[in-house]
Symmetry: C2
Subunit: 388 residues, 2 copies
């Protein structure tokens, strides 16, 4: 159900012929209201795709009537022609739905540097509108997959202070940020709660900060990353900001974990938790430095609890710590104590897919966790063979 | 000849039994003067190995009489015992040579987090002193290898304004910064020129900045990286700072290229040149961002001229540029023009080991080149299997 679990939404997923594989490649999410409130978070990459430039403008007034998404082409680095194609897509969909093109967001994912085949996109829009319905959330989730092996959906059910229920539904695509030319992470989240655009924006930024921004497969940032949040208000439920934010964070974290769990070629899902840090930023910086160390990531692939590579990465950061007071545990075994040799490394098992690395900075009381993957032969294979 | 090409130096390389393989594992370089001027540059990793802490102190007064180096153990993250072992090594060698321990630098490379076997190190020192001679530079270069497949040496011959010749010799180990627990890059450079410690220091920092600091195999920084420069003054030659700096940069760049050329598991040596930048720092930042992109590096391994991954990496930087005015050429073919599609990508051949990526920022007149490698199956294999 995902994005169509909340009341007031229709969705569709169809095959327009953009992919050589013949798999579904276009998706649509329509907000039938009564409210059309929306918020969005986009890639911070300065080389942003045409649909990102377009959708940023659409989101500026906090209103979105519909979102159209395509896999099979990122429409990034495609120049003025690429932007015109995004514009034409929004105009055509707006005409079909009887809404303003300025309220139609567009998302694309696929190879960078190729023009979209508009002779397939435009007929695809008609098919999408014809197929749009309140039960097609999963079809939409299928249609945005690229190298994903499974579709990603999540939901949350909550209540406002009067006991009136609301729901949040979400779908995501992307093999972490691992995937190559088609690096993109696309997320659409819907809710039938009544929430102002301002609160949607604030809660979305906080939820993204604590979820997708802490999933770091390979440190690469896409030109197309987009997270959209649409609120229909159809439930008549007025949740508190706290309750809504809690539900939104749960959905975002759930989707983020699914992205990491499906990252290309990964053999281990790794949570890197840094605690006793002087600040949350310090904790995040340290966890991220370890998550981005190819040496650490290859060691985990090799089932080698190589804490020296953890410390090497920690040492490159400007976080507050004393090298002689660092502790590191892998899967519960404290193999590094006071910056030196701790328990026997042979006690650490890395047979399971889940790995927990805990770094004790002994410098404060804050913490943060980054989720990442190991670096494997399959990662190299998938990312070296992709576009050829 | 390498470090014993310049007059006034003796060296040795012997087998102390630190490596299971039985290969040479200890090296010595002695400066017999008349001058004992020296300069050093060390890792900026805050988790620094015991020998780095020791040698930093030794270099503080600009004098070094001898350098002892061992492979087979990094002596990093080894606590107070590790530092005592480094100290004992310097004391013992100083006694054997009749010099002050405070003038003996120590370098180690190998696995992090294991104590050195002092029962092998101390007898090894005697063997080193017994074997030290003016022709053993290459033996020393062999003894510092870890995962290196070949030893690295370089030399330069120059003249002072009066026509008196001087030489510079250097040896290096390290598979870029690619290598894992034994990540270390160790470099010892000797010269028989008469150069003050202050000028040695200034010229060494500039040469390192333009050579080793621009070789970036995998963005990982060792706990042990050390570059030492020793001047004996035995040639009687007083080169100008400019002439000496030129020679030193040539030797450093030569060694840096050899390190990249022998990086673990690499199939391509990649030079990433960014030009028309607003500043040299901008150019370096952009080249380094591309050099650290796993997606770019796997693409090159797959012989895929994926310029979209180059632009994605460029877009993550804060350098001055307009995304619509970026040009990218790979091996001379301008496949990205004005931020969009340029010449046909099929015109690019990536069959050769050498790859040149040229990024035109169209924002100024500065440039910088970073040397890196591709990311290959062999990299994953060597770094996942190493310590197990």
């Amino acid at each position: 159900m995902s994005v169509t679990l909340p009341l007031g939404f229709r969705a569709a997923g169809i095959t327009a012929g953009l992919k050589a594989s013949g798999k579904p490649d276009m998706a649509l999410v329509i907000n039938d209201g009564p409210t059309k409130h929306a918020a969005g978070v986009f890639t911070s990459n300065r080389v942003a795709a045409a649909p990102v430039h377009w959708s940023r403008q659409v989101l500026a007034d906090g209103r979105v009537d519909a979102v159209v998404l395509n896999s099979g082409g990122a429409n990034a680095c495609t120049g003025p022609q690429g932007f015109q194609n995004t514009h034409a897509t929004a105009e055509r969909l707006a005409a079909l739905l009887g809404v303003s093109a300025g309220d139609v967001a567009v998302c694309s994912t696929g190879l960078i540097g190729e023009q979209l085949p508009m002779d397939k996109i435009l007929p695809g829009l008609e098919l999408l509108v014809d197929n749009a319905g309140p039960d097609a959330g999963s079809a939409a989730a299928d249609a945005i997959m690229t190298t994903d092996t499974v579709s990603k959906e999540a939901s949350y059910i909550g209540f406002d202070p009067l006991g009136t229920g609301f729901t949040i539904g979400g779908m995501a695509k992307g093999a972490g940020m691992l995937a190559p030319g088609l690096a993109t992470m696309l997320v659409v989240i819907t809710t039938d709660a009544i929430v102002s655009p301002e609160l949607l924006d604030a809660e979305l930024r906080e939820a993204v900060r604590l979820s997708f921004n802490r999933a770091d497969s390979d440190g690469c940032m896409s030109t197309n990353d987009t997270v959209l949040l649409l609120a229909s208000g159809a439930s008549g439920s007025y949740p508190t900001g706290e309750e809504f934010g809690k539900g939104l964070q749960e959905v975002c974290k759930n989707l983020a974990r699914q992205l990491i769990g499906d990252a290309e070629g990964a053999a281990h899902d790794i949570a890197i938790r840094t605690f006793n840090a002087a600040s949350e930023l310090d904790a995040e910086t340290v966890s991220r430095a370890v998550a981005r160390s190819n040496l650490f990531k290859t060691a985990i692939f090799g089932k080698d609890p190589n804490w020296g590579r953890v410390l090497s990465a920690v040492g490159t950061t400007d976080a507050v710590f004393d090298p002689d007071r660092l502790n590191v545990a892998i899967n519960g075994v404290q193999i590094c104590r006071n910056g030196g040799i701790g328990e026997d490394r042979s006690l650490v098992s890395l047979e399971d897919r889940e790995v927990l690395v805990e770094i004790d900075l002994n410098a404060g009381e804050d913490e943060a966790t980054i989720w990442t993957n190991d670096l494997t032969h399959d990662y190299v294979h998938e990312n070296s063979a992709y576009s050829s």
